[in-house]
Amino acid sequence: MRIPCPFCGSRDSQEFSFLGQAGLKRPDPTAPDAQKQFHDYVHIRDNKAGVTKELWLHANGCRSWIIVERNTLTHEVTGSEFASPMTKEAAQ
């Protein structure tokens, strides 16, 4: 599988390490239901069959965290972007 790094270009997936679902928001630890929210934050995932957004680290490359759009049914990768706006700014 090839992954398009927004900095390095198309690279073999062996250069990357996978974290998981992108876009998770850390819950407020002072919320009354913080324990349930944290349980879901740590353990509950959508596990979609289809197009997902995932966090990958270009560990054996430019070391940027990127968000990759991938179809879990076909493995087709349809896009990627820097996970951090700061990295995006530095790459321009």
């Binding site: 900095f7 690279r11 073999d12 054996n60 430019c62 820097f82 990295t87 995006k88 530095a90 790459a91």
Partner: protein, 197 residues
């Protein structure tokens, strides 16, 4: 403070002479010693200001992704967003880090890597073929030429690779403790073409 003496990362493992296939020398391997190294990382929002400061101090325009830029013995290798590995040779070896710190001021972090990396130069008409056995980026001259760079993976190493001449000549920087293993792999890979050290 102790007076630190530069020591080659690879000298004990380099056996000068001809090796591998007889009657041909497709590859030439050498350590790039006497080379100062530093990593420069622009602070948040300071990349453009840093670029201007490097032009003023070094006469070099910071290279974009997957490129290098050189002048007067100093080479900037793009290694990530807002990050460059810088080499200094000849006159530029002695004061590279001080010059970078002066130029970068509060715009970037400058970290001396001179004792942290080993740099090997691979040249000769079969250099590309010897490297292609382990390097994961495409080194075909159509897509990888003099002035190009890649931070990638080779065999078991995180490498910074760049091409300095059409000979072709390539350079690979790895963590210093990986230098011996990188050399070992390069020697095995180059053996069928015959190689000189």
């Amino acid at each position: 403070m102790a007076n630190l003496i530069p020591r080659s990362a690879l000298a004990p493992f380099l056996h000068a002479g001809h090796h591998g296939a007889v009657n041909k020398s497709g590859v030439i391997l050498r350590e790039v010693s006497n080379c100062a190294l530093a990593e420069v990382t622009a602070f948040k929002g300071q990349k453009n200001a840093l670029a201007a400061a490097i032009v003023t101090s070094f006469g070099i325009t910071l290279p974009e992704a997957n490129k290098i830029a050189s002048k007067d013995g100093v080479t900037f290798v793009s290694v990530g967003p807002g990050k460059w590995l810088v080499t200094g040779e000849g006159e530029a070896e002695r004061d590279l880090v001080a010059r970078l710190e002066k130029a970068a001021g509060t715009l970037a972090a400058v970290v001396d890597q001179s004792d942290a990396r080993a740099v090997v130069e691979i040249s000769g008409e079969k250099a590309r073929l010897a490297l292609a056995k382990g390097v994961m980026v495409d080194l075909d001259p159509v897509v990888f030429q003099t002035g190009d760079a890649a931070v990638s993976f080779a065999v078991q190493f995180w490498i910074t690779l760049w091409q300095t001449s059409d000979a072709p000549t390539f350079r690979i920087a790895v963590f210093r403790s990986m230098g011996r293993d990188l050399l070992h792999w390069l020697e095995n890979s180059a053996a069928e073409f015959g190689y000189e050290i």
